[in-house]
Symmetry: C2
């Protein structure tokens, strides 16, 4: 029997549950192992046709609700991982069910349009719901299908922009460009690079994968573009106690960025950065760092792309994490996916629309079905002021975790995410201990993810409240005493 049986309930510090009145008050774990026997059987059944070796367990989404995810063995976990940080509002959200059963959704699913050639008359309205959520300074959008896709579409826009600036926006292509490009050669297909950062995660296709630098397993055996990775600042925590050394760290990394831009063997057309490197270890970049990147990219004519695929949509206490930095002038593009359900990039400069049609184009040009869900998510985030709630609950959670850190400094190293909503992480001494903690947390009814080699990252939904934080902290405390 696992640690927390059906009968085990944590004490609650708050009782109201406005968002999900039918949510459980505590997790429930009824199997000795996770995945439990029924999950294991279902995974074996999948294995023959679909690679499922990475499955944590097999979920029962009908029985999942709000912050709680059910599995086929009857376990019910408090979900602090939320589909790799991609569920914004919790499971079976009533407003999303309304959107999913709307007539516009049926239309979008059964008549999926080629948006570039045959936009529907509802597209403007569907887009308007996304655009009203655009980051400060951005007012246009191009849509894609996933985080990798969003970043690669942004790269395409950046490369076209970069070359158009050199060539002249309205200038025709040369005969040499037109012929060489068909052989994948310069000048039509120029050697240009995107600069990203060590530990970055921007996706797993070939260009996004070249910008990704988190783990070898993401990249091994694939050809890649010879693109550089600068150092991402690695701060001392708590931040307030180390302002001077952390500023030095920022400047050290900024110097590397500038050096690469000046000296890389092919021109750097764009720079892409996550305001918090998530998959790569929950490294936070300071506002100073993000602003200085704007200064440097402007100075050198480099396109500045901020990747908000994981950080976007409210969990950090702002709708978009980089809004904490109030970068001026705004960055050139902001990519999104995951919690937004719809993917793509926001931008503001009309020169990022290529000079001819069919340059940034594909069959579907996005997916109205998921855009409709995105619009409904955005409406809820606004109506319920969820970034504010994340800020409040995040501070509440951080304070409790900080107290645990004082008790267990060895097992809660470099606690990160103060005043960044529920975007909280810490390090364990090594991978083995981290994995052990995650396993124990699961048996204690909390589904939590790791990142990098030895970090734990918290990625609850925006419907995460103080009472959920209490459940998690109690479970964590229990696990810490056992480790």
């Amino acid at each position: 029997m696992a640690i927390f049986s059906k009968e085990t309930h944590f004490e609650m510090t708050s009782v109201s549950n406005s968002y999900y009145p039918d949510e459980p008050t505590a997790p429930k774990v009824v199997t000795d192992t996770i995945p439990g026997p029924k999950s294991q059987e279902a995974i074996r059944d999948l294995e023959g046709v679909f690679d499922s070796r990475a499955a944590y367990f097999v979920a029962d989404y009908d029985k999942s609700i709000g912050n709680y995810i059910a599995d086929v063995d009857g376990n019910m976990y408090l979900d602090m991982y939320a589909q790799i940080a991609s569920i914004a509002l919790g499971y079976n959200n009533p407003e999303l069910i309304k959107a999913a059963t709307s007539s516009e959704m049926v239309r979008a699913l059964v008549n999926r349009p080629a948006l570039g050639n045959f936009p529907g008359c509802d597209l403007r309205e569907i887009l308007a719901r996304l655009l009203r959520l655009a980051p400060a300074g951005q007012d246009k959008v191009w849509s894609g299908l996933s985080g990798s896709d969003a970043n690669e579409l942004a790269f395409k826009a950046a490369f076209i922009y970069y070359r158009s600036k050199k060539r002249g926006y309205d200038k025709e292509f040369s005969a040499e460009e037109l012929s060489s490009v068909m052989g994948n050669s310069a000048p039509g297909s120029p050697q240009l690079a995107v600069l990203s950062f060590k530990s970055a995660f921007h996706g797993r296709l070939f260009a996004s994968g070249s910008a990704t630098c988190s783990k070898p397993i993401h990249k091994l055996d694939f050809p890649s573009f010879p693109w550089p990775h600068a150092d991402y600042p690695s701060y001392e925590y708590p931040l307030n106690d180390h302002t001077e050394v952390n500023r030095k760290e920022d400047d050290r990394c900024l110097a590397i960025v500038e050096e690469i831009i000046k000296s890389w063997h092919v021109p750097i057309a764009a720079l892409i950065i996550e305001p918090i490197q998530s998959e790569g270890g929950d490294h936070h970049a300071s506002s100073y760092f993000l602003q200085r990147l704007r200064d440097i990219t402007l100075e050198h004519g480099v396109v500045y792309i901020i990747d908000e695929v994981q950080t976007g949509v409210g969990a950090t206490g702002k709708f978009w994490c980089h809004e904490w930095a109030n970068i001026q002038p705004p960055c050139d593009m902001v990519t999104f996916s995951k919690k937004f359900q719809s993917a793509g990039y926001f931008f503001h400069d009309p020169l990022f629309v290529p000079n001819k049609p069919y340059r940034q184009f594909n069959t579907w040009c996005g997916d109205p079905a998921h855009m409709i869900i995105a619009g409904a998510i955005g409406q809820e985030v606004i109506d319920k002021k969820l970034p504010d709630q994340c800020a409040r609950v995040g501070d509440y959670l951080y304070t409790k975790l900080d107290a645990l850190r004082a008790q267990y400094p060895h097992l809660m190293q470099r606690l990160r995410g103060r005043h960044r909503g529920t975007f909280i992480a810490w390090d364990l001494p090594d991978t083995e201990t981290r994995d052990h903690m995650l396993k124990k947390l699961k048996l204690a009814g909390c589904n939590v993810g790791g990142c990098a080699e030895r970090s734990v990252r918290l990625r609850p939904t925006l419907a995460f409240e103080e009472k959920h934080a209490d459940v998690f902290v109690a479970a964590l405390e229990h696990v810490l005493t056992e480790l």
Copy 2:
């Protein structure tokens, strides 16, 4: 007033309409220009936030039905283009509406899972519906989000397979591989190539774009991998009158393929081919050619990928076009998207599952919502024997077009697609005349697409019947007399 007013009806040779009883009996064009004034206004409105320069018109999907697409100006076109060949069953199909309003669809949309980590208990059943439609010889699937994505995921599987075969499937990576890959360098990130064909279209991301070789506008200003393109056979038509010269053309191109595999400056890990190059000009490959590619790829240890993104799902008279060639042993992977609505690749060899988890992986690993639609499409295609219908209607249409070709040989050059269902195309003398024909056809109520520089391609839905063929042939005849 356009050519065909509300009052103009074509004569019908058949009257039954089992699939869409409420479908119009003829197109209706009520505007002098296409796009009409309301479409133009809606496009202008979109332009400010979403690049819509490629829009043909703004559609009203509520009013569209079966083979007919409505626009906001009140025009109703017979749709022979069908969202760039991506609508299988026609607009507002009743079976798809059932699927779109099912409880499993709501679940898939509001609780979109990270399929690799947290598959739902319904995933096996949803996948089973796809797998029963797998091409002959294939029984496993990995899912993605678009044609580009499907091809790049297949490339990843091919590169991993290729390197694993050299290294030993169960062998660990070397320290040098693990470190070099983080710098995008060999040996961890090896220089490997995918061989494709001139005029090929495999997508518009960076690796798929490197394999694409249809038009400069698809590729200009993007960095690419230095991957080669062999000649795709270009036959004399009608095929039956030119068997000898066409066989020679096959052999000429096969020799080029073999030469590239032997001599390219980096190893060729995979070969990808469309059984009919669609975007690139509706070039058909013979069964002999596709089989010989199997022989050659086996001999040289090259992975053989068939791209059925546009050709798949019945329109050619087989569910998968390459099934006409009965390739033995089967190719290694078959990629799909478009009419299938769901995207990904089918395969059969378990060694195409990487030796470790998280190598072929991403957040969503596909999209159950569109898989559910794919399953419903497949069920209809089977129940209604739609590939057989396409074969029958295609032959009917081809015969009529062949008669027109005899009358207008200059305007119907190289008529292609005999016995390939409704996958029919022909050439005009030049781009200008082709574009003029497409414009006239639109004003005659038929929405038709072009491909390559001077081809017209027909891509109706699978619900296309003899009566629709009659409407189209009458419109075409009218246009031909005017050109």
